[in-house]
Symmetry: C2
Subunit: 198 residues, 2 copies
DNA sequence: GCGATTATATGACGGTCGTCATATCATGTC
DNA sequence: GACATGATATGACGACCGTCATATAATCGC
C-alpha cells in the first residue's frame, strides 16, 4: 500500500462523523452528499470511493452515532441503578441543552420520521443498535413495577424520542420546556423526586 | 363570477387532502408538488393559483389533518372520562392498524422530525393546533395523580408520537408491537386494566 | 528521485425539484 | 351562440440531487 493503511479509514470516519452532524441538522433527504463532504473538508466526487450509496452512509452514520451517544449518556452513572439511574438518564436526555443542540445529540428525534420511510439497509442498522440500547437500559431498571424492565426501557425510549422531537417542533420555548418537564414526570411516575432540576 | 364560487374552494380542499396523504406517506421534502397535484387529479402548474408556496400548503395540510384526526379520535368517547377515556384514546392511537396505515393516521409521527426544521409558517400552524389538542385532552383527564392534567396531556402526546414513530422505524413486527404495548402500559401506569386488547 | 499506486478532485450526466409565465379550457352572462 | 373571465394545463427556467467516469495529486517502495 502506498498510503498508510489508516489513512482511508480515517477519512472514512471523518465522512461518517460529518454525515452524522449534517443528517441531524438537515435530515436525511435534506442533507446532500456535497454538503456532507464539504463538512468533512473534502470534495463531493470522492464519496463513492468510501460508500456505495447514500443509504449505506446513513446506516453507518446511525450505527456510529448511536453507539457514541450511548456511551455519552451512560458515562458517569455506573454507580447508580434502578430509578436513580433512570432519573439521571432522563434528565440528560430531556435537557434543554439537548433540545437546543440537535446536531450534537441523539439521532432518533431528527431522523425517526424519515427512518420509517427509509430503505432496508439503514432501517436494519438502526434496529440493531436500538435493540442493543434497549437491552442495556433494561439491565439497569428494577423489576418491581407494573412494567417489566424491557417494557419500561422501550416505553422510556419512545417517550424520550417523542418528547424531544415535539419540543423541537414547537416555536414557543415555554411550551417546549413544558413538554420536556411533563415527559420527565411521566417517565419517573414512581419516583417522588421527579421534577428537581430542569 | 363565472364558476360557482364553491368550485375553487373545493379544488383547494382536494389539494390539501391529497397533500395530507402524500406528506404522511413520503414526508415533506420527499413529497413533490407534482405528485400531490396528481393525487388530487390535477396538473402541477395550477398549484400556485391556490397556494403561495409549498410551505403554505404544509401549514394548511397540518391544520386540516390535525383537526380531522382529533374528531376521529374523540368520537364515540363522549360518555367516558378520566382514565377510561385515556385508555380508549391510547388504544386507538397506539393500535397496529394506525401503525400500518401512516397515510390515514396522525400527521405527527411522519412529520415531527421535519417539522423541527421547517419554516416559521408551518411550525406556527402546527403549534396552534397542538395547543388546542392538548387543552382538549387535558380537560378529559383527572386531577388526582402526580401529574397535572396538562402535564399528562403533554407527556401522553409525546409518548404516543414517539412510540408510533419508533414502531414504524423498525423492521421487526414483533419488536414494533412490543414498543406499542409497552408504551400503552406506561401511558396507563395508574390504570390496572392497561394491557387488555392489542 | 522515479514510477507505480492509491486517494481525492474535477466535471458531467440524467433526473427531479419549486416556481412561474403563458396558453388552453370551461363556465356564466349577454 | 359569442364573448369575457376565471380555473386549470403546458411548458420551461435555474438549481440541486445522487451517481459515476475521468483526471489530478499525494504517497510509498525501489
Amino acid at each position: 500500500m502506498r498510503y498508510s493503511k489508516e489513512h482511508k479509514n480515517y477519512t472514512r470516519s471523518r465522512i461518517i462523523e460529518a454525515a452524522g452532524r449534517t443528517f441531524r441538522k438537515q435530515g436525511y433527504i435534506g442533507a446532500g452528499i456535497d454538503g456532507i463532504m464539504q463538512a468533512a473538508g473534502l470534495s463531493h466526487g470522492g464519496f463513492y470511493a468510501h460508500f456505495r450509496s447514500k443509504d449505506e452512509l446513513l446506516a453507518e452514520a446511525i450505527r456510529v452515532s448511536m453507539q457514541r451517544m450511548r456511551q455519552h449518556w451512560f458515562s458517569g452513572l455506573e454507580k447508580l441503578s434502578g430509578l436513580e439511574w433512570l432519573r439521571e438518564l432522563v434528565e440528560r436526555y430531556l435537557s434543554q441543552q439537548h433540545r437546543d443542540e440537535p446536531e450534537l445529540g441523539c439521532m432518533m428525534p431528527p431522523l425517526v420520521s424519515e427512518l420509517a420511510r427509509a430503505a432496508e439497509l439503514p432501517r436494519a442498522g438502526f434496529e440493531a443498535t436500538l435493540c442493543e440500547l434497549v437491552d442495556q437500559v433494561a439491565a439497569k431498571l428494577p423489576d418491581d413495577g407494573p412494567l417489566t424492565p424491557r417494557e419500561r426501557a422501550l416505553a422510556t425510549m419512545a417517550l424520550n424520542v417523542g418528547a424531544m422531537a415535539l419540543a423541537r417542533a414547537v416555536n414557543d420555548k415555554e411550551l417546549s420546556s413544558e413538554i420536556l418537564a411533563a415527559s420527565k414526570k411521566l417517565a419517573l411516575y414512581d419516583c417522588q423526586t421527579a421534577s428537581t432540576s430542569q
